[in-house]
């Protein structure tokens, strides 16, 4: 059967020409939460708007699999976090199975419906000493049955989500159930799995040292030139005899 040319061109364009639309919300299948001991997720936002996502899960060796479409690897790979998972790590011991993956997102500062990184930089606010980064994201749990929320509440299942920002974290909040802690340039959220939808917001500030360095250098040069010109004028002034 011949494939229609329009579909082929559309597929080609989607793969190579058009940039991939970043879905900046995280959807976690509840099977991952219910069948693992711990799930950690991390997001490191760089100062140029790119980001690195990582997810690690620890489970019983019963769920180990060398294939990526069954067991713990399947549940981790089913987590939607804005792109395709890239590198993977496995640690297999007789008592536990550790599985981790990561992805690098080229730019998370594009507009998105569910979340985005907004950067207030020199162009947006030239008079401020700091560049402000605000990360907003929705974290959702995908339940497989109606009893999943109550089961998560009874067992106290929660996702530990660490967001690392390019500057000092000034504010971190979570809506929908959970807690947050801030420390230096990162915030750690404990996201309760008994509620489907959560929204997290992290705000950080970074000193614009490069911009300040350039401004100080230019001001110093102007001051030096003015002082030199004044000194030269004073030395040329005729003196009284």
């Amino acid at each position: 059967m011949r494939r229609p040319q329009g579909a082929f061109a559309s597929n080609l364009r989607q793969r190579f020409v058009l940039p991939r639309l970043l879905t900046l919300f995280t959807a976690i299948p509840f099977a991952l939460m219910s069948n693992t001991w711990q799930v950690h997720m991390a997001l490191r936002v760089e100062n140029d708007g790119s980001a690195l996502r990582q997810i690690t899960a620890d489970a019983s060796p019963y769920f180990r699999s060398s294939r990526s479409d069954e067991g713990l690897p399947k549940w981790v790979n089913d987590v939607q976090a804005g792109g395709q998972w890239d590198m993977e790590w496995r640690t297999d011991t007789p008592t536990s199975f550790h599985y981790a993956r990561d992805m690098r997102l080229p730019s998370v500062d594009r507009a998105s419906d569910s979340g985005q990184l907004s950067i207030v930089d020199v162009v947006s606010n030239p008079l401020s000493l700091y560049t402000t980064y605000t990360w907003h994201e929705e974290v959702n749990f995908v339940y497989h049955s109606e009893t999943d929320p109550s089961a998560a509440g009874a067992t106290g299942k929660e996702l530990i989500y660490r967001v690392e920002m390019p500057g000092t974290v000034t504010d971190a909040s979570i809506e929908g159930g959970g807690s947050s802690e801030t420390e230096a340039n990162y915030a750690v959220f404990k996201v309760s799995a008994d509620t489907a939808e959560h929204a997290i917001t992290v705000t950080a500030q970074r000193l614009r040292w490069g911009y300040l360095l350039l401004v100080l250098y230019i001001v110093a040069f102007i001051a030096y030139q003015v002082l030199t010109a004044l000194g030269r004028a004073a030395s040329r002034r005729p003196r009284k005899i």
């Binding site: 140029d48 790119s50 690098r104 490069g210 230019i218 040069f221 030096y224």
Partner: protein
């Protein structure tokens, strides 16, 4: 009546070094005196040494060099340092890593380093291209 009575500020005037007086050029026809004295048996003349003058130490020589070669902060040096600062700041702002895939290898490099590597590879290719032997057909003969 003295200078103090007139309240003149003669001592506060900056003392400018006088220009050395031009040396009189020796007459081209004057015969040198040294060969004549050497012929008469006199000892050869040695440079005069000043007793009690110490050779300057290494720190003094370095400080003298620095003080004499101190660059002036004019527009040219200002622009040079400004361009260097701009490059430094641009590199620091683009230090976020990017991921490369090459023949099954996955590398992570800072964006600024990747930019320099790309430029270096391009320059190397152009250098090899320009170094190649030019044939008669391409040379226009």
């Amino acid at each position: 009546m003295t200078d103090d009575d007139l309240d003149l500020e003669l001592d506060e005037e900056p003392v400018r070094p006088r220009k050395p007086a031009p040396k009189p050029q020796p007459a081209p026809t004057a015969p040198p005196a040294a060969p004549a004295a050497r012929a008469a048996g006199a000892p050869p003349a040695e440079p005069a040494k000043v007793a009690g003058v110490r050779k300057p130490g290494i720190f003094q020589r370095v400080s003298d060099q620095v003080s004499t070669r101190r660059p002036t902060w004019n527009w040219k040096t200002f622009l040079l340092i400004l361009v260097a600062l701009l490059i430094l700041v641009a590199f620091a702002e683009n230090w976020a890593p990017v991921r490369f895939y090459c023949f099954g290898l996955r590398l992570e490099l800072p964006k600024a380093v990747a930019f320099i590597l790309n430029a270096a590879v391009g320059a190397l290719v152009m250098w090899f291209w320009l170094r190649r032997p030019v044939g008669d057909g391409e040379s226009g003969r």
